[in-house]
């Protein structure tokens, strides 16, 4: 179903976790182009139906912990028949099955994990999870976990700083939409779309529901801003999966991509004899500033005009030219690589945020680091280093910052996932620069990096 990437053994090589229907797999990167299956020895398996995972340093000890996202208990033994409103046989929704709790594995720092699911609180609440991200969503400097549940209230697991988590989705305003209704959470995009210094959430949903934008008002208080964002109505006919905030035109505002494909059959396509009648167009939205969007997919090329059954989408600068490209997985067709030919026309800054935690053999990407790019006479730009989010996919951990029409960078501040903060002089433009933790000027540790 899904993948997660992270250097769990701090040897400087990104490892791979594969979430499956059935046993999962942790593949150790041997650093020579080969991988070794270390699932059993690491204690990283979960035999249930897992839809994704994320690596995050949840206790600030320098070792990446692992959250395994589980879906529902569905098997041949408990198979049920489901039907479309027309009475035709169709795929079942999550309500047809029992939801399953997710698993939290704490990295012992010796290549193995301890299952702390129940002790941490995570395993005590079952939900049909399809999307997960680790991010400091309440601004206290600790990585929290957000889980998009399919057809049930989503979970916001707030880090209590002792490896326990408190689920606070309802009060935080991210469990259900503005009408109080749970939606079919699939993909998740995390990023600061309104430029106020905290990360906002965008979740993709089912046909007949809107995709939903939750704006962070600070301190982990979110408001459903779908109606005024322009993102609601255009998403209504589609079922969204992969998604991310990407500044595709490098104008300094995070735009949005959503990759769609139905899960309930399209009668018209079915009647035409389509063997896989679930195709829908993908969507690209341009942020006009302040998180107000207009759809530009039809102008963005044939890739966004041709209906397909899209699912996973990973984002990153594949050709290293300074803009975000996209790898899309569609069902029943080859993987697509969408190469961005637009963004690099504008000035940009590329950053790789790395560190060498205690006991590490090599430098690794410090997933969860947040960066604030200060510019002369322009508001700061906030970005994060992460591989998680989207749907069942893992993305480029490097940070790409489009500078728009204000390319004069005065300072780069990095808020590391261990709570430290550092300032770096302006790196060169139009190239990638590695910022190594411990080599910048120390800043006072932030309660909230705002």
């Amino acid at each position: 179903m899904g993948v997660a990437t992270g250097d769990y053994d701090n040897d400087g090589w990104m490892d791979l976790y594969i979430a499956n229907y059935g046993s999962n797999q942790l593949w150790h990167n041997n650093g020579d182009g080969t991988f070794t299956d270390v699932t059993a020895v690491a204690g990283a398996d979960d035999p249930r139906w897992s839809a994704g995972a994320t690596f995050a340093d949840l206790d600030r000890d320098g070792w990446l912990d692992l959250f395994v996202l589980n879906y529902v208990d569905s098997s041949v033994q408990n198979n049920v028949r489901c039907y479309a409103p027309s009475s035709r046989r169709d795929y079942c929704g999550p309500q047809a099955f029992q939801p399953v709790p997710s698993r939290l594995l704490r990295n012992r720092g010796n290549g193995t994990f301890e299952d702390v699911s129940i002790k941490s609180g995570i395993g005590r609440k079952a939900g049909p999870g399809l999307g997960v991200v680790a991010d400091d969503l309440d601004g206290d400097g600790w990585q929290d976990l957000f889980v998009a549940n399919d057809g049930s209230p989503s979970f916001l697991w707030l880090n209590q700083k002792d490896f326990t988590f408190k689920e606070d989705g309802l009060l935080a305003g991210v469990a259900v939409n503005a009408a109080g209704k749970p939606e079919a959470g699939m993909g998740i995009a995390v990023g600061d779309c309104d430029g106020d210094g905290d990360d906002d959430l965008f979740i993709t949903h089912l046909t007949g529901e809107t995709n939903t934008l939750y704006l962070n008002q600070g301190g982990g208080v979110f408001e459903d801003a779908t109606a005024r964002s322009g993102l609601g109505a255009p998403s209504l006919p589609y079922t969204g999966f992969g998604t991310a905030w990407i500044d595709f035109d490098n104008d300094g505002w995070l735009d949005l991509a959503a990759f769609n494909g139905a899960v309930n059959l399209n009668g018209a396509q079915w009647a035409k004899g389509d063997l896989f009648p679930y195709a829908q167009p993908d969507q690209l939205f341009r942020n006009q500033g302040g998180c107000r969007f207009v759809e530009v997919g039809p102008e963005a090329g044939a890739a966004f005009r041709t209906p397909r059954v899209s699912r996973g989408a990973a984002f990153g600068d594949v050709d290293n030219d300074g803009d975000t490209d996209i790898v899309v997985v569609d069902t029943d067709s080859p993987v697509r690589l969408l190469v961005n030919e637009t963004g690099s026309r504008r000035p940009w800054l590329g950053l790789r945020l790395v560190g060498k935690p205690a006991g590490a053999k090599g430098e690794r990407d410090l997933l969860g680091a947040r960066v604030e790019v200060l510019r002369r006479a322009a508001p700061p730009l906030w970005r994060r280093s992460a591989t998680d989010g989207s749907y069942a996919s893992a993305s480029d951990p490097r940070v790409l910052v489009g500078l728009g029409d204000v390319p004069e960078v005065t300072e780069v501040r990095v808020f590391w996932p261990d709570g430290a903060a550092e300032s770096f002089p302006p790196p060169p433009l139009r190239t990638y620069t590695k910022l190594l933790r411990g080599t910048g000027k120390t800043l006072p540790p932030p309660g909230a990096p705002k």
Binding site: I118, K181, T207, T210
Partner: protein, 509 residues
């Protein structure tokens, strides 16, 4: 049944009416396919009989469109309503239903145009009330908040749609971050329809926005899944056009989810009337009858389901649960064993089987089932408790204590497990297992969380174990006082212990 190709030709022959995109009827439930096929045939007949008045033909288009809409064939429905509207442009129903079909298909601009046209043709209630609710809802989705408010202000003036209009106006206000107005509208909606528990969430968000966190939490605690909808004379009728087993099963499940068990039973019976061999409908009927308190009716249905499908795991489980509760442990055991065999990873089924085995004195077998349930669901409090209680009954006290400690390590906030451990440590028959100090600490913690008779009794037990007999007697009096409404036998037990404590040391249980 007439073929789609012939029908298309006939419809195209109707003047001024575009073609209808027919749904493919293959794969539909037979009753549904027959209904749609017959409606299509009737329309084709009318179209081909050129003597029919346009208004009548419009009616036939509209009738077919409504049936299509009922089954979510929204494109075909929209085509029919377009046709009806062209043939009879003065009838508000056709643009209104066209609006509904376009809204269901996610074509919001087209839906707005159609509803506005309908409201021009019929500006008075009841059509205007429900129509303005639709317009408000769509405009809210589109982020056109002023337009949404204008439509909803009209709907709020019409009593049947006022509650729904208030709830949507509340959402409009939330979108504007006008929390005061949002709270007012949502309170008005909830006052009109208190059972619409879903509204507590947006209302909580309004109070949170106003800085009243306590009130926000109070409303979140009341939040549920019951939504609100405005009466809509045209669309409410559409839903009733559906026939067949599936729709009845779906309606039944919706009713059951909302706690309307009688309505749910009625729907499942309807499904069985259409298809008596439907095991699914019968299992569901059995389940809701049980929930409604009709145990014998429930068991009858579940037994019949098992006659039709002897391997049905849900029927085995539900019947097993009913029998276990109804004093038929042997029969319950057989069904629960079948449920476990059919679904070996079902922790709940294993836990229930374990309880039946334990109550029947088959302690080792019960323990094995509890252990497996705990393996499958480490956070299952009831299974953890059952396992410890079984160990106690087996005389394996130290093991019970250790397993409870392990469970409490995972679930330190569990009142049930804390209480069980407190009792074991206070009054274990094996004195080496006792630990009065810790028992007292745990017992006081559960008493503080929930000051009940049983919890006071456990504090007394712990104090007695520590030799603090006077204090034990005081707590035991509290327990007896709080247990006044309980059975005489229970009171006798409490008073017996009280007498022992009052005698003074040694008063260890």
């Amino acid at each position: 049944m007439m073929g789609a190709g012939l029908l298309l030709t006939l419809l195209l022959a109707a003047p001024a009416v575009g073609p209808v995109r027919f749904p493919d009827l293959s794969g539909l439930e037979s009753a549904v396919a027959a209904q749609l096929g017959e409606m299509q045939r009737l329309l084709a007949e009318q179209v081909s009989a050129s003597v029919a008045a346009p208004v009548k033909v419009a009616g036939s288009y509209g009738d077919l469109g409504q049936v299509y809409l009922a089954y979510a064939f929204n494109d075909a429905a929209a085509d029919c309503f377009q046709g009806a509207s062209r043939l009879d442009p003065k009838d508000f129903r056709w643009p209104y239903l066209l609006g509904a079909a376009q809204q269901a298909a996610g074509r919001l601009d087209e839906a707005v145009a159609a509803f506005e046209k309908a409201l021009t043709l019929s500006p008075a209630p009841p059509a205007s009330g429900a129509g303005n609710v639709h317009l408000g809802e769509i405009r809210l989705l589109q982020g056109r908040l002023d337009d949404a408010e204008a439509a909803l202000r009209k709907a709020v003036a019409f009593p049947p749609t006022a509650a729904m209009a208030h709830s949507l106006l509340g959402q409009v206000a939330l979108a504007r971050r006008d929390f005061h107005a949002a709270a007012e509208h949502l309170e008005a909606a909830l006052a009109a329809v208190p059972e619409a528990s879903r509204l507590h969430v947006p209302l909580a968000m309004a109070y949170r926005g106003l800085g009243d966190r306590a009130k926000a939490e109070e409303h979140l605690a009341k939040a549920g899944a019951v939504g609100l909808r405005a009466p809509d004379p045209l669309l409410d009728g559409v839903a009733s056009l559906r026939v067949g087993e599936r729709v009845a099963v779906m309606r039944g499940r919706v009713a059951a989810q909302a706690g309307r068990y009688r309505d749910a039973a009625e729907e499942f019976r309807r499904a069985l009337a259409v298809r008596p061999e439907s095991v699914e409908a019968r299992v569901d009927l059995g389940s809701v009858l049980a929930l409604a308190g009709d145990r014998s009716g429930a068991m009858e249905q579940l037994r019949e389901a098992l006659r039709l499908d002897p391997g049905n795991v849900t029927a085995h489980f539900n019947l097993g649960a009913l029998l276990a509760d109804g004093g038929a442990p042997e029969e319950a055991r057989a069904h629960l064993e079948a449920a476990v065999a059919g679904r070996p990873d079902d922790a709940e089924a294993r836990r229930l089987l374990a309880k039946v085995l334990r109550d029947g004195g088959q302690l080792p077998a019960a323990l094995a089932q509890y252990r497996r349930a705990v393996e499958l669901a480490p956070g299952d409090e009831a299974a953890r408790l059952g396992e410890a209680e079984t160990l106690v009954r087996l005389g394996r006290y130290a093991e019970a204590r250790n397993r409870l400690d392990e469970a409490l390590g995972l679930m330190p906030g569990s009142g049930l497990l804390t209480h069980a451990q407190a009792r074991l440590l206070a009054a274990c028959p094996e004195r080496a297992v006792r630990d009065g100090e810790r028992a007292l600490k745990l017992a006081l913690a559960v008493w503080q969380a929930q000051p009940s008779a049983a919890h006071a009794e456990t504090v007394a037990l712990a104090l007695a174990e520590l030799g603090r007999c006077d204090e034990a007697a005081t707590w035991q009096r509290t327990a007896a006082d709080r247990a006044r409404s309980e059975s005489p036998a229970r009171l006798a037990v409490l008073n017996g212990a009280l007498a022992a404590y009052e005698k003074g040391p040694p008063c260890r249980p």
